[in-house]
Symmetry: C2
Subunit: 355 residues, 2 copies
């Protein structure tokens, strides 16, 4: 079982704590433990404030009497185009989803482009058009933009940074501090499609698959879930870098609870499973860009799951686990063989530059 | 007079209109005509909507009954540190100023970092601390952040993208459509300090100067101006890439007016003038990062100018020109010799990667 191997040959074997003389390594962009180290030891201490310190998918602010959500993400995916999307649609979906999983109704997006000298203008146009289509599908507009150019060899074609604003949900608090023992753990669809689709588009690791990325806006699905489940929905996260295993760990740690995941209940497409075995990856750590993990009060879980399945973005939603205890923040995986093991955060990157 | 030369040897000699097969050139990042071409022919047609199409320093939105401003900018300045600042403080000031010149009271900032493998972590920490200090000085916090990492040779140390939200000024409309014949043109201080300070820090063009960048937050100055001038202030812009000449052209074109600038009235430090003569640059095209240009109703202009001079960020404020006519969007420069010439937008970059 290759899937038991928690780090790929691409990732450093152990975490490197930053100290004087240390430099950035690829694993610092993994979304795993090295990323958490970098954020926790460098950026958070410098920029610390009560809102940033929460480390949510988006920040909640009060502006002129309204509660709004605010988020930002840079996108450096390589290659720029992959089955099911490109850096433009990915950037828009990523920002919409960070707002959506906090329950927000997206209002506006900004986009900033860093272009490398020599980048084809036709390609920039295609990416912009792809952003427009992605924004339209979530009924949101790109209202502010910027472009910068650097010399050849000082960037990698194009980098896109999107930020977004949403109206926070009225009368609804979502957050890991609301997680309770007995809650159900739901996922909105098969995991790992995005990561494997991007890998399949990389020249150096080409293999045959009809797989497309799951990159998609989740605001419609979230609206349907909130309409059905309301306050029974404790919190949600979108499992991007680091995959479902990493966000489950973030939720378990932030909520101070033990989450038990049934490995056999986790939806994984056959193509993803096969690719993961070849690459020595665990699908639970592979990025999604159109999925969410939700922690829902047990009593309402079946109803919410049914609502998810009734929505086009949640047709293959599944219950994958339970909040089994409190007091210790960790994730335990129950294997089909009846054994259990800790599903920890990986130190570095399984798949670099996946978003 | 070297200053009459409108393009440096670094810039392409003439504008290259984007068409099929064309690629990004350094001049597309200049803030001048090539940037306008790229935005106008590629990004705007794809992303077009009434808010983005205004091409203001920030976008105005209504969110839950409140009017807010929203802006974004990427920073790719080289070198990362220069006299008077670094990429971190520059990014924060740049975003605060885009909000401030629209009359906004900055509420929150986001920051997204693209890091190159091998970048010193100590340097990342210094940049984050510099951002914190810059944000503190404008009483605003960085509430959302992201970090991404790319392989060595795929970026240039660190790129920073900041976005910002402000509360729009109540009962106040600022915009170039409000400019009228007879209005006064004010600038808040000497022009070109930032661009020349960055150039002085570049190895290849080192020259002796004690000059520091003017990079600074303008929200305090704007608050003082609005308190004094109110609706007499027609509109403001911060002359970053492309300098004062470029923003004056933007205002003249957007307002459909002719602006006449008295060259001898434009405050320019001796060091900047000397460096510009050596480099063959015109200070009117050199970037500032802590200055603003304001168009003010003639009757209130002296009062507003006095308020600017009473503020630490406007001690050397000056009246540099007048709105001389309407119907044609252009800027005319009256030289000390009594002659006049068109002060046009440059095609490409005088100084690449200045912000």
């Amino acid at each position: 079982m290759k899937r038991r191997e928690n780090h790929s040959p691409l990732a450093p074997a152990c975490p490197i704590p930053p100290s004087k003389g240390d430099v950035i390594v690829i694993g610092h962009g993994s979304g795993g433990r090295l990323t958490a180290d970098l954020v926790g030891r460098v950026f958070l201490p410098a920029l610390s404030n009560p809102i940033l310190d929460r480390l949510g998918d988006s920040a909640e602010l009060t502006v002129g009497g309204s509660r709004i959500l605010f988020t930002t993400d840079s996108f450096v995916v390589s290659p720029l185009r992959f089955p099911g999307g490109d850096i433009g649609s990915l950037a828009v979906h990523g920002t919409i989803n960070d707002l959506a999983v906090a329950g927000g109704r997206p209002i506006a997006i900004s986009a900033s482009f860093i272009l490398e000298e020599g980048f084809p203008i036709e390609e920039a146009r295609r990416i912009a058009e792809s952003m427009r289509a992605a924004a339209d599908s979530a009924a949101v507009a790109v209202v502010a933009a910027d472009t910068k150019v650097v010399e050849r060899g000082k960037a990698d074609g194009i980098f896109v940074t999107t930020s977004g604003i949403a109206l926070a949900p009225e009368g609804l608090e979502l957050g890991p501090e609301r997680i309770r023992k007995g809650d159900a753990v739901l996922v909105s669809g098969p995991v790992g499609d995005h990561g494997i689709a991007v890998m399949s588009a990389r020249e150096e690791l080409e293999f045959e698959t009809a797989l497309t990325s799951d990159s998609a806006p989740l605001n419609g699905l979230v609206a349907a879930m909130l309409e059905c489940g309301g306050r029974a929905i404790r919190c949600m996260r979108d499992p991007t870098r680091g995959g479902a295993a990493t966000v489950l760990n973030e939720l378990a740690k932030a909520g101070g609870v033990e989450i038990v995941v049934e490995e056999s209940a986790v939806p994984v497409r056959d193509e993803v499973r096969a690719a993961c075995e070849i690459l020595g990856l665990d699908p639970l750590y592979v990025a999604c860009e159109g999925r969410l993990v939700a922690i829902v009060e047990e009593l309402e879980a079946e109803k919410v799951l049914a609502a998810m399945r009734a929505h086009s973005m949640g047709a293959m939603a599944a219950r994958i686990g339970t909040v089994a205890g409190s007091g210790v923040g960790r994730v335990v995986l129950k294997t089909p063989f009846g054994t259990s093991r800790l599903l920890d955060v990986l130190p570095g990157a399984q798949l670099p530059r996946i978003c």
